[in-house]
Symmetry: C2
Subunit: 435 residues, 2 copies
Amino acid sequence: MSARAGIVVTGTEVLTGRVADRNGPWLADRLRELGLDLAYNVIVADRRADIEAALSFLAARGMDLIVTSGGLGPTADDLTAEVVGAFQRRRMVLDEALEGRIAEILRSLMRRWPGADPDAVRTANRKQAVVPEGATVLEPVGTAPGLIVPPAEGRDGPTIVVLPGPPRELQAMWEAAAAGEALRAALGAATEYRQDTLRLFGIPESEIAETLRAAEAGGVALERLEITTCLRRGEVEVVTRYEPSDQAAYDALAAVVRERHPDTLFSDDGRSVDEQVAGALRERGWTIATAESCTGGLLAGRLTDLAGSSDYVLGGLVVYADDAKTALAGVPPELIERHGAVSTEVAAALADGARAALGADVGVGITGIAGPGGGTPAKPVGLVCFSVAGPGGARLTRSAQLPGGRADVRDRSTTVALHMVRRLLAGERDDGGDQ
Amino acid sequence: MSARAGIVVTGTEVLTGRVADRNGPWLADRLRELGLDLAYNVIVADRRADIEAALSFLAARGMDLIVTSGGLGPTADDLTAEVVGAFQRRRMVLDEALEGRIAEILRSLMRRWPGADPDAVRTANRKQAVVPEGATVLEPVGTAPGLIVPPAEGRDGPTIVVLPGPPRELQAMWEAAAAGEALRAALGAATEYRQDTLRLFGIPESEIAETLRAAEAGGVALERLEITTCLRRGEVEVVTRYEPSDQAAYDALAAVVRERHPDTLFSDDGRSVDEQVAGALRERGWTIATAESCTGGLLAGRLTDLAGSSDYVLGGLVVYADDAKTALAGVPPELIERHGAVSTEVAAALADGARAALGADVGVGITGIAGPGGGTPAKPVGLVCFSVAGPGGARLTRSAQLPGGRADVRDRSTTVALHMVRRLLAGERDDGGDQ
């Protein structure tokens, strides 16, 4: 049995969805790396009784470690340190040395907010130096210190790691905590887990269900593997978690998936299509440029998400209006007139226009109907046309009918486009077969 | 006391963060509209014991309604219907009429995936027609039916609404459920809650803490209001939840915030800066275009997130490479040479270039160092320069040192740019004062 962990994310703003929870997912990866089995992520409002109940639930479920995120700020709705202290039966005390260090941080903050009232800032932040007695203080990254709070002497129960809500602060502080002695002591002997991901594009999830049944029928020890399949941005992901002694079972499963889905399995090493495209562009020494209509810049934005993308992304054109398609990407007005702005012909002209305007090796054109308005019986909402053009007349052009609402169609379009770029870079061509 | 609700999101892919939870936040809004007090969102892996424990926890905490999302798919890790049935002490039975309706849906699905094995699809989906006896079936939006499962006759406890994981399916199905009798019966008399949001830009969160203390000292009945403050994409949000009888307390709080923060409070009616910019552009009949370097198209992507944005967004230039800044946006190479690509001078030239290239009324230029590489002592990572140009020489130009990692800097930059556009549209100008 490996050690089990739970996460408590506090914050009405997260519970009500005004802020997306970036900490739970990030912590999940860190806990797995430490060999902990993450069982729950409980999101609660900033209410004392609800935070207490979440801690009690996780302790009762046998968690060895609980990580909390949020509720360390300067406002009165920030309760976590106090609630955790009480839960662990530890008195709250003012740590004067810590107060001094926070004051130092505030002095430099004041320079960024010259209009702020120094007294307000100091009062608001003094409470951040009041910590449970006997807790290990994790030095502030912003102004809030974190805490490692073991149960009081003579009591059983989980150690609780208390981290601030802002992802940047939480991440830096966790790294410091993970390197230190107090956390290691709390973890004891954790089982190592491996996790591997297979990614497929262009098949329905039910096909994977059938493949898993076939693998089991063929003698693969699926009961040794914790397999989850899900749809993500238009791709099917098969994530498998297993103990190192079950490596052979995983390898057998991966072999079955490879054999049954050679055309749609595009990644078995954890790399995303984004990383594969970046790698292939670097390998060929090619540059890329985009001309986007319905995605409005999201593909260029996605291509430049990766650090170092300036090595191969030259830029792009966002040609939302038809006049812009002509003026910037050189799409002939007659072409738009004849085939409509949403057509494979215009997508191809956009790809060519992107290459020409930026002087890039690869050009990508996207034009479609993201909705909710603008659809017709012949060209319904969700119809998107794509073209990718490369040197020497290399080209792939497709249209697709994408499901979902406006945001889904736009996001899914960037995935389809990246897969077409990946295929072009792998040598696939419209005129038949690979080259 | 209003009725309380909890959410259980199942799925290892969500727990481990490979898929962001879009359902919890969406359901949170719907539950609030129904007057339910959302207390918890528990994310669990696809493991029977963990799902059961989450349901038990929420039932023990006195929830009147539990909504689950996910785990209704065709694969063996999809357990929710069965676990909920057992939790409510209801036998699982095959609903043959439902099986027939699912078969009908599958026939049309098959046309989209001509390569899929019909037997595989049928077997994989038959389990979706096995439901707890006495449950109300919610018609499938994809292939999975939802369920409303009350406790077995003579037992107490929450009614559980079981919904599929894909947001599009969940949302459509919830709307159907909310309109029906079975859910209303479960809710009984729910208290109405109001929720209002104040949004500020350009002040630290600690100033708001001080303002809340001042309001309380001035006699505002803060104890009647559930107030949470948070940082979101560089803005401070103050969200207040209250019962209708406490409207006066909220109005008094809003008045204090308005009085103390006239320059930074930009929204008191729930509208985002995105919506304000869209509204102001429509009102003036102006069009907008962008020229982006470090944000790589994200601002254009954000401007076109809103349906109908083609009325005022003409398009944009993504000028990642310096040559592209010159070729597409007409930035003189000497200007880049003299001031560097990241400079207010180049930002201004980009804004002008966007206006000229697209023929737009408003042009926005962004250039900065998103990191992690590329920083220097004089121009560190996080330095971003912005310029917004409008008709008649109207202009606002700024530089900002933005905190966080690459993704933070890029996202925050789009927020800063939108606020500058908002201010320009409101008549603010660099050459002093409003016009």
